[in-house]
């Protein structure tokens, strides 16, 4: 018996197998079928026949299905090109979903990828901020393009090499202005040679930058005078202008104008103005500005500074008229010297240093201690480091993306089969890398903010002051990041979009080898760059250790220096010294005008047999107040003897010279030779030769030196025993307070003084250490990602090897040795480059360490062991896995 309902049910079930029908379609057809059958039954046709007739009339289910599907599907090949953009927009949610899923599925991979890039970008931002800060120096003066500092090339007979000095004669600037109409303005500047004790009522402050300047200071520079008349404030003797900070310290909110302060040499100075604090990014720094007329007789009585040509103690800045060529003016300087200073015309060759180069390009100049100075070479090094790290991070990004790409072959295959073309796939994958790079950028900004305390630790937080001004730099870096992300995304997306669907869907392993050789090249590049940085760090460290450990020619340990120059103690030097020596922990005390690690004065000397004019020969001098310097510092006598207190001539006639002077004078046996020091010692006799000792950083050769007796009590060097240092210091402090009421007790250990000479190098070392650490970290990130990938790729091989009896160690070795090979190749590539750079960096030092093989060995060892540990984690995991799991699926 025919059952219509059953027949309909079967028919519907058959239709549902055809995927082109939706439920609604089937129901609509069913309704049609029932209508037709009902009508046929009304015409007395049996149910069974009616059903088959109705079915027949309805037509082929396949054809109908095809037509129905056509009405649903959009045929994209027929959409116009200009509509494809909106088509990508329609797919955007799907792309985002895919990106998010890939991110989640490959969480470690993705995090490594983004963090690596973020670290690279953060380094880049920090370095850019640093560089832009360094270049911002002195840029706030409106006349900066017309300001020049007068420097000179010095070619002394006593030294074979040329030196560049920033100092000029006192009268030089004003004389130039008289003679050359192209000079608009002149300002003479001199930061006082040491800190100056300034007092007001009960307040006593050691002022670091007590600076003598002309009243033209405010015409030349744009430092803003808050109160006072810029033209008159610095004309009268003993007039001073306070910085805001100083005004705040001494007078709080009171108006300081017209008040008096006790300053240099115990004189009273009148406040005639208040000036804004010098900006951080100014090479000229000041706390107090004082008038030059203050040095005239009747006041400080240092008029030799401004009136005599011989002393070289003043910095001269010129403003040239508009459209004046500095070269033309420079060409007139030799004649100017002949006219005004013929004695030194042959030795001093004046030149003009553009104002905007003073901060960064003064590393070869001597006598620039009062000023802040940077180093353009270091900036180049840091820019390179920044580029290196960004490059490494980008390579990581690329490498990991390529490795990941093969995992997504199926997705590409399916998308292609569904009609995606190469362009669309390319855009999809580029979009993903873009998204990743934006995430990395956001993360890197966070890292930069976190790094602030660390920067403060190495005295670099000043760069953050300019963070707000750096928005252009940061947006530039944002663009760079995006660009880097896109560039590193191009290759993987090109590879991905080129997959042939038939290949990737049919045989999943056929794409394994794609990109492996490129990946290897990239890993080698990464590690080469990192190894270069590590070697650089090691070489700098080695030089600094060399400087720290090399015999300086004296014993710098446990010696401290007290500045007594303008204290009450200088009037009772002998008594104070004897008080100190009563303490058994104080080994010895010596008075002198200077000490190793500080700058020595230079005097003209007149050696026997070489008498010329007064100043033909120049030598550093060390003036001693007593004869104890030898014991305090442990200097050694080469020949002859040191001063002896019993011999009265030793404090009038005797002179001790160093080996360098004997050598430059060509004296084989200097003992007994005549040596006059015009103005100080007539008919001097050399009684001994002291072994060379370093007074400056290893950048400078040891200067010729004369030592003679001239009691001035400028400073005391105190040698204390290594035990009870704190008690000894407390004892000195108490004695200091007995002798000197105003000035607080301050001291400096000589070894600290010396390490300060390498502050710039130490800063470079610290930064380079940090950055090379980060570089290797980022490189290892990449390696880690790759090792996960390789281990996964070779999981079957590992399984088979294990089944056949491989040991854990042989599998770890198998997986690691390929990578280690790459690191070794990187070492071979990095070695010559870094040797070259390290070698040229060391040339800046007169006394330098050998590079040797150790930096290379260490760098190689570090790179290899880090690489090995990075890989080993994955390799061991892979090697420990049960082969059953990896092998059962086939």
């Amino acid at each position: 018996m025919f059952d219509l309902e059953k027949a309909l049910k079967d028919w519907k079930r058959a239709l549902r197998k055809n995927k082109q029908y939706e439920d609604g379609d089937i129901e609509e057809l069913e309704s049609h079928l029932r209508d037709r059958v009902n009508e046929l039954i009304k015409d007395r046709i049996p149910e069974k026949e009616a059903f088959s007739k109705a079915l027949d009339e309805i037509g082929s289910p396949e054809l109908i299905g095809d037509e129905l599907f056509k009405t649903k599907a959009v045929n994209y090949h027929k959409t116009k090109l200009d509509e494809q953009g909106s088509f990508i927009l329609q797919l955007l949610p799907n792309y985002l979903k895919t990106t998010f899923r890939t991110f989640k599925r490959n969480f470690t991979f993705s995090i490594i990828n983004i963090t690596g890039l973020a670290i690279g970008v953060a380094c880049c931002i920090l370095i850019s901020m640093f560089i832009s800060y360094e270049y911002s120096f002195d840029s706030f003066h409106s006349k900066k393009d017309r300001i020049y500092r007068v420097n000179k090339v010095v070619t002394e007979q006593t030294s074979s090499t040329e030196e560049l000095h920033a100092l000029t004669s006192g009268p030089m600037g004003l004389q130039m202005q008289l003679e050359f109409p192209e000079i608009e303005e002149v300002v003479r500047v001199r930061n006082w040679f040491s800190e100056v004790l300034v007092s007001h009522e009960e307040k006593h402050i050691q002022v670091k930058d007590f600076v003598f300047v002309d009243s033209t200071f405010f015409k030349v520079f744009d430092f803003k005078l808050i109160s006072g008349n810029p033209n008159l404030a610095l004309t009268k003797p003993l007039s001073i202008i306070l910085s805001e900070e100083m005004s705040q310290i001494f007078f709080g909110s009171e108006n300081p104008m017209g008040k008096t302060l006790t300053g240099l040499n115990g004189l009273d100075y009148t406040v005639t103005g208040v000036v804004e604090n010098a900006p951080e990014n100014s090479h000229l720094q000041y706390d107090i500005l004082a008038s030059w007329s203050s040095v005239d007789p009747g006041a400080l009585d240092f008029s030799w500074m401004t009136s005599r040509w011989f002393p070289q103690s003043i910095y001269t800045y010129l403003v040239l008229q508009e459209n004046t060529s500095p070269e033309v003016l420079e060409s007139k300087f030799p004649e100017f010297m002949e006219r005004n200073f013929p004695e030194r015309a042959a030795v001093y060759q004046l030149f003009l240093q553009p104002f905007n180069e003073i901060y960064l390009y003064s590393s070869r100049l001597l006598w620039i201690e009062p000023f802040k100075s940077g180093n353009a070479t270091n900036l180049t090094v840091f820019s390179l480091v920044a580029i290196f790290i960004l490059l490494i991070a980008c390579i990581n990004f690329m490498n990991l993306s390529i490795a990941q790409a093969t995992k997504r072959a199926k997705e590409v295959g399916v998308r292609k089969v569904l009609g995606a073309n190469r362009g669309q796939l390319g855009i999809q994958f580029l979009g993903e890398t873009l998204l990743y790079s934006i995430m990395a950028f956001v993360l890197s900004i966070g890292l930069v903010l976190i790094s602030r305390p660390f920067l403060a630790f190495i005295n670099l937080d000043a760069v953050f002051m300019s963070l707000a001004d750096n928005l252009d730099v940061i947006s530039l870096i944002f663009l760079c990041t995006v660009l880097a992300g896109l560039l590193s995304g191009i290759y993987p997306s090109a590879i991905l979009s080129a997959f042939k669907p038939i290949v990737v869907l049919y045989n999943k392993s056929s794409n394994k080898t794609r990109g492996t050789s490129l990946r290897k090249v990239l890993v080698v590049t990464q590690f080469s760059l990192s190894i270069c940085l590590i070697i650089g760090t090691f070489v700098i460290n080695k030089q600094l250790n060399f400087a720290g450990n090399k015999d300086l020619g004296f014993n710098k340990d446990q010696v401290l220096v007290l500045q007594i120059g303008d204290t009450e103690i200088s009037n009772q030097g002998e008594a104070f010294k004897n008080e100190l020596l009563k303490n058994s922990s104080i080994v010895s005390v010596a008075g002198s005008n200077s000490h190793p690690g500080s700058t020595f004065m230079s005097y003209g000397i007149r050696p026997e047999g070489l008498e010329g004019s007064d100043n033909d020969w120049v030598s550093s001098v060390l003036l001693v107040d007593d004869f104890d310097l030898l014991d305090t510092y442990g200097f050694e006598i080469e020949s002859g003897r040191y001063f002896e207190s019993q011999l009265s001539t030793d404090s009038t006639q005797s002179i001790v010279i160093n080996e360098a002077l004997a050598q430059s004078l060509d004296w084989d046996n200097p003992i007994g030779k005549r040596l006059d020091i015009p103005g100080d010692i007539e008919e001097g006799i050399v009684i001994g030769v002291i072994k060379n000792f370093h007074t400056q950083s290893f950048h400078r050769a040891i200067d010729p030196l004369v030592i003679f007796f001239d009691q001035r009590w400028g400073e005391l060097s105190v040698k204390i025993s290594a035990q009870n240092t704190q008690e000894t210091l407390a004892y000195i402090n108490s004695k200091w307070a007995e002798f000197e009421s105003k000035r607080p007790f301050e001291y400096e250990f000589i070894d600290q003084t010396f390490s300060k000479l390498y502050a710039e190098e130490q800063r470079t070392r610290n930064l380079l250490t940090a950055f090379s650490g980060l570089a290797i970290l980022v490189s290892c990130f990449g390696l880690f990602g790759l090792s996960i990938f390789t281990a996964n790729e070779r999981i079957k091989e590992i399984g088979i090897r294990k089944v056949l009896g491989s040991s854990l160690s042989s599998i770890v070795l198998l997986l690691s040795k390929d990578f280690l090979k790459l690191v070794l190749i990187a070492l071979l590539i990095a070695a010559p480059f870094s040797y070259y750079f390290a070698h040229s960096w060391l040339q800046e030092f007169v006394y330098r360490t050998e590079i040797g093989v150790w930096p290379f060995l260490f760098a190689g060892l570090i790179a290899c062991s880090l690489a090995f540990f990075t890989i080993a984690w994955q390799s061991i995991k892979a090697a420990l896995a049960n082969p059953v799991h990896s092998l059962k699926s086939e």
Partner: protein, 114 residues
């Protein structure tokens, strides 16, 4: 027997014309077409539905599910404003062709159109 292309082209104005008279459903539309064409337009009944769906997608007609007198669910179609406009265009085009062909061949025999 009409060619497939001509069938496809002519079905749309036919359906629209029928729906312009009032709401209808698939089976009824087929019956109307058969009646109107006097049997000269022969097609399998099922092929109507893809055309209806296409028209619906193009917004020329709209559809709703409703319960029929027999108590079954049935999909009813009605024409939209866009459908009316579409029909007017089609009408003008068919009449143009008709005029051109008539000018060449002379008037068609009366029985062909009822």
């Amino acid at each position: 027997m009409l060619s497939k292309e001509l069938m496809a082209a002519s079905t749309r104005p036919l359906i629209l014309t029928i729906l312009k008279r009032g709401e209808s459903y698939g089976y009824q539309i087929i019956q109307d077409v058969k009646q109107l064409s006097g049997g000269s337009l022969e097609w399998s009944d099922g092929m109507l539905y893809p055309v209806l769906h296409k028209l619906q997608k193009e917004n020329c007609i709209q559809a709703k599910w409703a319960i029929s007198e027999e108590g079954r669910r049935r999909k009813y179609y009605s024409i939209t404003d866009a459908g009316v406009a579409e029909l007017e265009t089609a009408k003008a085009q068919w009449q143009n062709i008709h005029v051109v062909l008539e000018r060449i061949w002379g008037p068609a025999p009366k029985w062909a159109i009822s």
